[in-house]
Symmetry: C2
Subunit: 221 residues, 2 copies
DNA sequence: AATAATATTTAGATAAGTCTAAAAAATAAT
DNA sequence: ATTATTTTTTAGACTTATCTAAATATTATT
């Protein structure tokens, strides 16, 4: 068993290193977890002694196989609870993160597996992030941001990169919720903002580069 | 907000004082929480400084109004989660306590109120204990143990006093689950064991005094 | 290559919660 | 009313997780 703090660090390390094989840096971890670098160093020593990370002084850190597996289990719990909160308790997608941040630490494999079953083994959480199965396995999503889509293409919104409350509220307000079919009608070279058509709503909307880079889509075929 | 340890102490104090207005004693609290008397003293000082208990050195302790209210909220969460686990996730009644012991500390009024609604505002948990509402109010159950029932009387099992796994398994095995209609057919004066008829199962069973004193019943009318 | 800037680690302190062992108070037994 | 026993509290130590401030290592700049 790991403590709540250990689990939060493992999860943070997973998110910080999943796209950066060279490892995570002390200051980045501190910024991500809103704590101090010295606290991070202490925890890295502890996780290292438990063989959950590979850590050498001043050299950055990566998760060990064991640490990655453990991180994925916490992430699995987080995302399943988020799905539960939206699907069974009618929370909005911008309300669930904080509560899931607590629920992800409940220690019971049986519990989370039964929640999984109750929900019908969902593959993606309310923000479009994949839910690992009991073995930590999940399908990699073909990583495409709305920013990278050319003019004329029709795509479906399938997730967000930024899951902050402020971004989710914005996205919801302009109608880019998950599952929405949209078409890129124009790309303005001045600031690379996009004119998007939303056929289901019969509306069009202008989205900034900052927005389009945080919306994940898959190509409609 | 209170810490997890504080919440567990408040809950323990509630259970230890609900039937004992003179207050709880340090050693009893320590035994109940499987900790040491010195740890209890430390926590009582802390709870006292937070105005959650009335505590004077060597004089025992009782919950303040504020402390009682807080304890009832934790108990509410505990019992609602137990009901959820049994009703929605098909856990057995002897499996839910440990998990609820963790879930009761999730901080979100909105969450527990929505769970309450999802479950249809249940009045009793899987062990027959009353579930306080959002204001801490609940109906006192007419407190009758099977031990006190005279020969010939027909009653319905409505709860247990001891909620330990070992007792619940025994009770389940002999068929005295909640809702079961039973009739006291004989009382043997030697050890005050009872011969109980269970019409729905067409069986009869002999229960010891230790058992009958831990089974709550209500008189059928 | 030496110096400046940045990043990371260490040293020492604090808070919560727990423990053991010793002291003090309350209660029971002579 | 002493003495003995039990209960409770205090003193001091330990663990986890955090912090500030100082020291050290790494990297960038002249
Ligand atoms: Mn968390
Ligand atoms: Mn999510
Ligand atoms: Mn608990
Ligand atoms: Mn219960």
């Amino acid at each position: 068993m790991n403590t709540l703090a250990e689990e939060n660090y493992l999860k943070a390390l997973y998110h910080l290193t999943v796209q950066a094989p060279e490892g995570a840096y002390t200051n980045d971890i501190a910024a991500y977890l809103q704590t101090k670098a010295s606290s991070v160093t202490d925890m890295l020593k502890k996780l290292s002694s438990k063989k959950l990370v590979h850590y050498k002084k001043y050299q950055g850190v990566i998760l060990s196989k064991k640490g990655k597996q453990k991180a994925l289990q916490v992430i699995r719990k987080h995302r399943l609870w988020e799905y539960f909160l939206v699907e069974k308790l009618n929370f909005r997608w911008d309300e669930v993160h904080e509560i899931a941040e607590q629920l992800e630490h409940i220690q019971s494999d049986e519990l989370i597996n039964r929640i999984d079953k109750l929900l019908g083994f969902p593959k993606y959480d309310p923000h479009g992030d994949p839910i690992p199965d009991a073995d930590g396995y999940f399908e990699e999503i073909p990583f495409l941001t709305l920013f990278a889509i050319p003019i004329g293409e029709t795509v479906t919104v399938c997730g967000v990169i930024d899951s902050s409350v402020s971004f989710l509220k914005l996205i919801e307000n302009i109608g880019l919720t998950i599952g929405t079919l949209i078409k890129v009608e124009e790309i303005f070279e001045f600031d690379h903002s996009l004119k998007i058509a939303i056929p289901s709503k019969k509306t069009k909307v202008l989205v900034s580069q900052q927005i389009s880079k945080n919306v994940l889509v898959k190509i409609k075929k």
